[in-house]
C-alpha cells in the first residue's frame, strides 16, 4: 500500500461536526503526527483510518481506491490506544497472539512470530502475566507488539505516551522512532504534545476544531507558521504574542513604536519567540518580574513597554534578580507578524527595533 488520501473527509455526529473538509495525502513509510488540542478531531480521524468510524462525507483512499466501507479487520491496520485496550482476561502471550487467530497462519508459525515481536519490544520476559500485573510502560509495549505482530501496512498510535511518566516517555519516544525507521511501516501518531510530534514525526498535521491548520515538517511549523494558532501551539515555552497597530512603516505596541515593513498595515499581532529575545547593553528597557530556572536554560518574565514578555536565556547560572532592570533586543529575522483578525501570517520577518 503506497498512499493514503483523505479527500474532503467530513465526520459529523448528529449536529456536532468532528472533522470537516479534511484533505491530506500520506506516503508509504511516512511518520506523520496529527497534532492539536483535545477535541480537534485527531482521534476521530485516526479511527476513520482504522475503519471503526466511517466518514459522513468525502472519500478515504488507500492506493487510489475508496475504502470508506471496508471493515476494520480487512484493512490490516495496527492500532495502539491511549488506554492500551489489552484484553484483561488473556495473558500477554495470548494478547499478542490474538490478531494472528484471524489470519491463515499455522500454529507454530504464529507462536514464532509472537516471540519475535515480543523480543522486538522487550516484553519477552512477561509473556505469562496478565495485563493487570503490568506497569503502564509494559502494557504499552504489549499493545505495540499486538499491533505489530500482524505486520500491518499502517500503524496508528493514539496518544500512546500520555499515560507514561516523563523519563519513560523519552525512552519510548526514541524506541518507537527507531522501530518505525527499521520496519518502514507508515505510522500516524495522534498527540496533543507538540514535543512528541516534533521529535518523532517526519511531517506534522496541526489540527484545530476539526480542520487542518497547517501541514509541514517540524521546522516548517516552527519557523514558518501560517497562523497564530500554529505559532502559539508549537514551541515551548510558547511564543510571545503582542497586539498592536501598523501603519506607514511603523508598528505601535502599547504606545511603543517599532520599525516594520511598509506593506504591513492594520491591526496586527507581533510574534516573537522567547529564545529570540536577548539581553543586551542597549534596547528596550525592561524589569525582571519572575525567574524560572529550568536546568539547562533560564526563563525570565519581564515587564517592558511592549507588555509582559518571556525571555529564554541559555545557561543555568542567571545573573539577574527580580526587580533588576535590563535591556532587551531582538532581530528582524526572528519576528512574525500576524493579521489580528484573520490570524494568518502577514510577514515572516516583520518588525525590528528602531533604535
Amino acid at each position: 500500500m503506497a498512499r493514503i488520501e483523505f479527500d474532503r473527509i467530513r465526520k459529523t455526529w448528529g449536529d456536532v461536526v468532528a472533522v470537516d473538509a479534511l484533505t491530506l495525502t500520506i506516503d508509504d513509510g511516512e511518520f506523520v503526527s496529527l497534532l492539536g488540542p483535545s477535541g480537534c478531531g485527531k482521534s476521530t480521524t485516526l479511527l476513520m483510518l482504522a475503519g471503526i468510524y466511517a466518514p459522513t462525507e468525502g472519500n478515504l483512499r488507500f492506493d487510489g481506491q475508496v475504502v470508506n466501507d471496508v471493515e476494520a479487520r480487512d484493512r490490516n491496520v495496527g492500532i495502539v490506544f491511549q488506554s492500551y485496550a489489552l484484553y484483561p482476561h488473556m495473558s500477554v502471550r495470548e494478547n499478542i497472539l490474538f490478531p494472528l487467530r484471524f489470519k491463515k497462519v499455522a500454529e507454530s508459525e504464529a507462536r514464532r512470530r509472537v516471540e519475535e515481536v515480543a523480543k522486538l519490544v522487550h516484553v519477552d520476559e512477561l509473556m505469562g502475566r496478565r495485563p493487570g500485573q503490568l506497569s503502564g510502560g509494559q502494557q504499552q509495549r504489549v499493545a505495540l507488539a499486538r499491533a505489530l505482530v500482524k505486520e500491518p501496512q499502517l500503524l496508528l498510535l493514539d496518544e500512546p505516551l500520555s499515560n507514561l511518566d516523563a523519563t519513560l516517555r523519552m525512552t519510548m519516544r526514541a524506541e518507537i522512532k527507531a522501530l518505525q525507521a527499521k520496519l518502514g511501516v507508515t505510522t500516524i501518531l495522534v498527540t496533543h504534545d507538540q514535543i512528541e510530534a516534533t521529535t518523532m514525526a517526519d511531517r506534522i498535521v496541526c489540527m484545530r476544531a476539526g480542520r487542518i491548520e497547517q501541514v509541514g515538517t517540524p521546522d516548517d511549523l516552527y519557523l514558518r507558521p501560517t497562523s497564530l494558532f500554529v505559532a502559539g501551539f508549537i514551541g515551548a515555552p510558547p511564543i510571545n504574542l503582542l497586539p498592536g497597530e501598523a501603519a506607514d512603516g511603523k508598528l505601535v505596541i502599547n504606545g511603543f513604536a517599532l520599525t516594520c515593513e511598509g506593506s504591513v498595515a492594520g491591526d496586527v499581532t507581533l510574534g516573537i519567540r522567547p529564545e529570540s529575545v536577548y539581553f543586551a547593553d542597549a534596547g528596550i528597557r525592561a524589569t525582571v518580574d519572575q525567574i524560572e530556572p529550568m536546568g539547562r536554560e533560564t526563563l525570565y518574565r519581564v515587564n517592558c513597554p511592549l507588555g509582559s514578555i518571556t525571555v529564554l536565556e541559555g545557561g543555568s547560572t542567571f545573573h539577574r534578580r527580580i526587580g533588576d532592570v535590563a535591556m532587551l533586543r531582538f532581530d528582524l529575522g526572528d519576528t512574525l507578524v500576524f493579521d489580528r483578525r484573520t490570524e494568518r501570517l502577514v510577514k515572516g520577518a516583520g518588525a525590528q527595533l528602531s533604535d
Binding site: 479511527l47 482504522a50 475503519g51 471503526i52 471493515e71 476494520a72 479487520r73 484493512r75 491496520v77 495496527g78 492500532i79 490506544f81 491511549q82 488506554s83 485496550a85 489489552l86 484484553y87 484483561p88 482476561h89 488473556m90 490474538f98 490478531p99 487467530r101 484471524f102 489470519k103 499486538r146 500482524k150
Partner: protein, 325 residues
C-alpha cells in the same frame, strides 16, 4: 457513642452537676434515637421474619390440621416427609426439571442473547425491544396469566389456535395444558425470568470500555469472535450472580404456576413450593405444610447467602463520619 470536645470539658469542669447532666442527656438521646429510627424497622422485621420462622418450626412438630387445633406434639410430619409421602419424590423431581430448565433456557441463556443483541443494534431499537421483554415482568401476575390462559385456550378461541388454524392451516386445535404442561410453566415463567438477566447483562455490557471493542475489531475479530473474547469474559460475575439468584427465585416461587395450571393436570406441574401451598391450604394439613416449608426455608437462606458472595460488601459498610448523637 459520646464525644465531648476538650473546650466543653474545660468550660464545664466548674460545674460537675452540669457535666453529668449533659452526659446523661446525651446517653438518653442516643438511646431514644436508636428507638425512634431503628425501632420500627427492627420490630417489623422481627415480627414478620423471625416470628414466622419460629412458629413454623413449632407447628411442624404438631399435628395441626384443618381445625387449627393442636392435640399433640409429634415428629410424624417429618416421618411423612422422609418416608410416608408417595407424591413427594415426583414433586421434587419436577422441581429440579422446572428450575434448571427455566434457568438454562430462559433466564441465563435467553437473557444473554437478548442483552447481546439489543446492545448490538442502534440504541433506540434496543430500548424498544428491551421494553417489550420487560412487559411480562411489569404486568400484574393475574393479568399476565390471564393472557396465557387465553392464548392456550383449547377451544378455537384460544389465540394460539387462532394463529395455527388461520395462518398455518392446522385443523385440530391444540391443547397445551393437557399435552405439554411442564413446557407451559417453563415458558410462562421463562418470559418473565429472561428480563432480569437481560437488564443486568445489558448494564454489564455497557460498562465494557469502548476501546476494547475497537481493538478487537482492528485485530480482525468478527461479530461472534468479539462476543466470545470481549463480551462474555466481562460477564462472568453477572452470569454467576444471576444463576444463583434466579435459582433461588425459581425454587421458592409458585405464583404463576398456581394461576396457570393450579399444579395440574393432577400433580404434573406441582413444584415443591406449590405442593406446600396445596397441602396446607387446600388439604388443610397445616403442620405437614410447615414441615415441608422448613426445608425450603433452609435451602432458600443457603442460596441467598451464596448469592451475596458475589456482591461488593465494602461499599455497603461505609463507616459513618459524624459521631455526635
Amino acid at each position: 457513642m459520646i464525644w465531648i470536645k476538650e473546650n466543653d470539658v474545660a468550660a464545664v469542669t466548674e460545674n460537675d452537676l452540669d457535666v453529668r447532666r449533659r452526659l446523661r442527656s446525651a446517653t438518653w438521646r442516643q438511646r431514644t434515637n436508636l428507638f425512634i429510627f431503628l425501632g420500627p424497622a427492627i420490630v417489623l422485621i422481627f415480627l414478620l421474619y423471625v416470628v414466622p420462622v419460629i412458629v413454623d418450626i413449632f407447628i411442624s412438630f404438631t399435628d395441626m390440621g384443618r381445625s387449627l387445633a393442636i392435640n399433640e406434639f409429634t415428629t410424624k410430619q417429618y416421618e411423612k416427609v422422609f418416608a410416608g409421602d408417595k407424591r413427594l419424590p415426583q414433586v421434587i423431581g419436577l422441581t429440579f426439571v422446572y428450575v434448571f430448565g427455566t434457568l438454562a433456557v430462559f433466564n441465563v441463556t435467553f437473557g444473554l442473547v437478548l442483552a447481546i443483541l439489543t446492545t448490538a443494534i442502534p440504541k433506540t431499537s434496543g430500548i424498544f425491544f428491551r421494553g417489550v421483554w420487560l412487559l411480562p415482568r411489569m404486568s400484574p401476575s393475574v393479568l399476565y396469566i390471564f393472557l396465557w390462559i387465553w392464548v392456550i385456550d383449547p377451544s378455537e378461541f384460544g389465540l394460539l389456535n387462532q394463529i395455527l388454524t388461520n395462518l398455518f392451516g392446522v385443523v385440530k386445535p391444540v391443547d397445551l395444558m393437557t399435552n405439554a404442561p411442564v413446557m407451559l410453566i417453563i415458558f410462562s415463567n421463562g418470559f418473565i425470568g429472561a428480563s432480569m438477566g437481560m437488564i443486568i447483562f445489558t448494564s454489564a455490557i455497557r460498562s465494557i470500555p469502548e476501546h476494547l471493542f475497537h481493538a478487537a475489531r482492528v485485530d480482525g475479530a468478527g461479530g461472534l469472535a468479539i462476543v466470545r473474547h470481549v463480551t462474555l469474559p466481562a460477564l462472568r460475575w453477572p452470569i454467576s450472580f444471576i444463576t444463583i439468584y434466579q435459582t433461588l427465585s425459581l425454587t421458592v416461587s409458585f405464583e404463576y404456576i398456581l394461576l396457570l395450571t393450579k399444579g395440574g393436570p393432577f400433580f404434573d406441574t406441582t413444584v415443591y413450593a406449590l405442593y406446600i401451598y396445596g397441602r396446607a391450604f387446600e388439604n388443610g394439613q397445616y403442620a405437614y405444610g410447615a414441615a415441608l416449608a422448613l426445608f425450603l426455608i433452609v435451602i432458600g437462606v443457603a442460596l441467598a447467602l451464596l448469592g451475596w458472595k458475589f456482591f461488593d460488601m465494602k461499599k455497603l459498610l461505609q463507616v459513618p463520619r459524624i459521631e455526635v448523637q
